[in-house]
């Protein structure tokens, strides 16, 4: 695999040259020397910046790091943290760690399935709410734990969950 410095190749153009957010991604790749080993770090930056990884973003990163698209796609789909779909306006992450499971996290999933018809990984049809699960948030002392957008809530019961999600809907 060539470990070129970039000057040997034509510089690839980002999917949307007008979007200044690509500069953040470029900065990460530059800091890590456009080396193929910086793929995961770069994908983290893309997801942090745009919320998800789409095909255009993966192609741009793969070309910039001189690796085949298949490898970028392979890494993006191997790791659970990366998502290829845009998220809803609000995200509800239910922890499915052992402590949360023992304390009834599956009832929270059932509540979301019954009330909004979404399973983990899905977003409501209006793009309002995404339901996600986490392997373990490490907040086991507060089981069952839920993350509403980026705010962690502990000892959540199905009624608590319904009340919080209803607030999103009415807002």
């Amino acid at each position: 695999m060539p470990t070129a410095t970039g000057s040997d190749y034509a510089k690839p153009a980002p999917p949307d040259g007008q979007d200044k957010r690509w500069r953040i991604v470029d900065a990460t790749m530059r800091r890590l020397g456009h080396h193929s080993r910086s793929l995961i770090e770069t994908l983290h930056t893309v997801q942090e910046t745009f919320g998800y990884l789409d095909e255009g973003a993966l192609r741009y990163v793969a070309t910039s790091l001189h690796i085949p698209m298949s490898r970028a796609y392979g890494v993006a789909t191997f790791y659970q943290f990366f998502t290829l779909k845009p998220a809803g306006r609000h995200a509800c992450v239910i922890c499915m760690g052992t402590a949360c499971y023992i304390k009834g996290a599956q009832h929270l999933l059932t509540a979301m399935a019954n009330d909004y018809g979404i399973a983990p990984g899905e977003t409501t049809s209006d793009g309002g709410i995404s339901l996600l699960t986490a392997r373990c948030l490490g907040s086991c002392g507060l089981a069952p734990a839920v993350v509403y957008d980026s705010e962690v809530a502990g000892k959540v019961s199905p009624p608590d969950l319904r009340a919080h999600v209803a607030k999103w809907i009415s807002a």
Binding site: G74, T98, G121, G138, L142
Partner: protein, 561 residues
């Protein structure tokens, strides 16, 4: 920065802290943060200002105080510990520092939860401010590293660790000193690496997260000592992306250490150079396995490879690599400070020192505890943990996460160390301890872990990829009351196959939850298969309504991947 200059900074910090007659510390680790402890701290700051106490009283954000169940926790001068504090309590707490403590918020500290613990790894947690290196220096921080790099040879440092008897805290319990000397002896082409494994993937374990959030400099110091001992010059901390607060504090800590010349080129004027960079995990349990972790640091899919060659010979980028867990590194500075001899006197014969456990599930005092090795399960769960709430009965303790097993009540008086846990079919693991009572169905628990292993199997080797799927199907049949007695035989056969033919630890240990529940809770399996009943009422209740949701969930997770 010379040792004298460093000591001066520590001294100045101690002087500065002495100027305040009172201090109020607020836990700002993730557990309490999720109960709004940041707002409590801000309210206390405002009250200190408002009540004109700015000259005498200071507030400080600190790491985990352990009793996560009662958060947010606030500790005030004189040793009073307050539980479940809200921002509206701030005025009363600040006003009380010069009189009697606020009795309605008091959390008793003369109980076994606090008295029975022995803190080595967590000695600074809940005491030092994780975001100020000066505070760590004032607590004798970096003095062990300073001693090692100015007074000791690498061989001497390794000898201390060998003498201590410390074993890897990531789960397998490999002797740390032996690992260090193997890496030290290995010849490198260019550089050697030291990696900190902070990919705490076991669900139900949060010890490493807490140490990183509460005392990040302790981990950096441990890594520096290890790097000096094995001759490594580049280091990585591989930390889960799911731990944003730990990542933020680590980044701050690395920056502060670099600024004081404690990381980087020619540390403290010696010939020793070492730099640390952070690599984020991306949610793959298998990356806790060392060769998979290395692949992930190299920017690839986290799939393991056969060993040997071991990472100690050929690891990251083909160079000799030392990989230790967060807690292992955190044990190093006190071992150097007090000597390996001192450490080896704590714990049991073959398992030295202390172990941090994350106590969770059906137990009254959920939180983080550090106990000497060899303590009994009963002491941890019933004395320190306060027993099972709501008057229910203890059923099992699960240690080691998806790689561990369920320990039934008959072994409650067994000492907790590496050998004893292995003997009863579990493992020490990284330190998650989930307590279950009679509301948990053990077949359902076994299926939960098998579902976990199935989803997390990287797919490289067939026994693990196909075996976990088949076992999950078979266990599903049992929980749906569709199984026959022959299915148990098939499960046992698969367990044997996985144990003996899988490529890495994930597949090898995946049968443990099934085997241990089959062994100790056989009657529950029998009840499901023969009488079509779930004694705990878990599977029975879910039979009619939750099945569609569950199968949808599987499809959903498949599509997301």
């Amino acid at each position: 920065m010379s040792p004298e200059e460093l000591e001066q900074i520590a001294e100045n910090e101690r002087e500065a802290q002495k100027k305040f007659a009172h201090s109020i510390t607020v836990c700002v680790a993730a557990g309490c943060m999720s109960c709004q402890s940041q707002a409590v701290k801000e309210a206390i700051d405002r009250e200190i200002e408002k009540q004109g106490m700015g000259q005498r009283c200071k507030s400080k954000g600190v790491g985990c105080m352990g009793l996560c169940a009662a958060g947010p926790l606030v500790s005030s001068a004189g040793g009073a510990l307050y539980k479940n504090v809200s921002a509206s309590d701030a005025a009363e707490i600040v006003a009380s520092v010069e009189s009697n403590p606020v009795s309605r918020l008091l959390c008793p500290t003369d109980v076994p939860f606090f008295q029975r613990q022995k803190k080595i790894v967590l000695e600074n947690s809940g005491v030092v401010d994780p975001e100020h290196i000066e505070d760590y220096l004032a607590a004798n921080g970096y003095s062990a590293m300073m001693r090692v790099i100015t007074e000791m040879t690498p061989a001497h440092a390794i000898e201390e660790v060998v003498k201590s008897g410390l074993r890897g805290r990531g789960g397998a319990g490999y002797p740390t000193g032996l690992k260090w000397s193997t890496v030290a002896k290995a010849a490198s082409k260019r550089v050697k690496y030291a990696i900190c494994n902070a990919d705490e993937g076991d669900p139900g374990a949060f010890m490493d997260r807490s140490v990183l959030e509460s005392d990040p400099h302790r981990v950096l110091e441990g890594m520096l000592i290890a790097a000096y001992a094995v001759g490594a010059s580049e280091g990585y901390i591989y930390v889960r992306a799911e731990y944003p607060l730990a990542i933020k504090r680590l980044r701050t800590a690395i920056r502060q250490a670099e600024r004081l010349g404690l990381l980087g080129h020619n540390i403290c004027g010696t010939r020793f150079s070492f730099g640390i960079d952070i690599r984020l995990g991306a949610g793959a349990f298998v990356c806790g396995e060392e060769t998979a972790l290395i692949a992930s640091v190299e920017g690839k899919r986290g799939t393991p490879r056969p060993r040997p060659p071991y990472p100690a010979q050929e690891g990251l980028f083909g160079e000799p690599t030392l990989i230790n867990n967060v807690e292992t590194y955190a044990n190093i500075p006190p071992i150097i400070r007090n000597g390996g001899e001192w450490y080896s006197q704590i714990g049991s014969e073959k398992s030295k020192g202390t172990k941090v456990f994350a106590l969770a599930g059906r137990v009254a005092n959920t939180g983080l505890v550090e106990v000497p090795m060899g303590i009994s399960l009963r002491e941890i769960i019933f004395e320190i943990g306060g027993g099972i709430p709501e008057g229910r009965n203890f059923k099992a303790a699960q240690t080691g996460g998806p790689s561990g097993g369920c320990i039934p009540a008959q072994f409650l008086d067994m000492p907790v160390d590496y050998e004893s846990l292995a003997q009863v079919g579990s493992i020490m693991g990284s330190g998650g301890m989930i307590v279950m009572d009679d509301t948990s169905c053990m077949v359902d628990v076994a299926k939960y872990f098998m579902d976990f292993c199935m989803t997390e199997s990287c797919g490289k080797c067939i026994p693990c990829r196909v075996g976990t799927y088949q076992m999950n199907e078979l266990l599903g049949k049992i929980t749906r009351f569709e199984a026959t007695p022959q299915d148990i035989g098939m499960i046992e056969e698969l367990c044997d196959l996985l144990k003996n033919t899988s490529l890495c630890g994930l597949g090898i240990s995946a049968p443990n939850p099934v085997l241990s529940t089959l062994k100790y809770f056989a009657e529950e399996y029998k009840a499901h298969i023969v009488s079509g009943q779930c004694p705990a009422g878990v599977c029975g209740a879910r039979r009619s309504e939750a099945r569609p949701a569950e199968s949808r969930q599987l499809e959903g997770s498949g599509a997301a991947r």
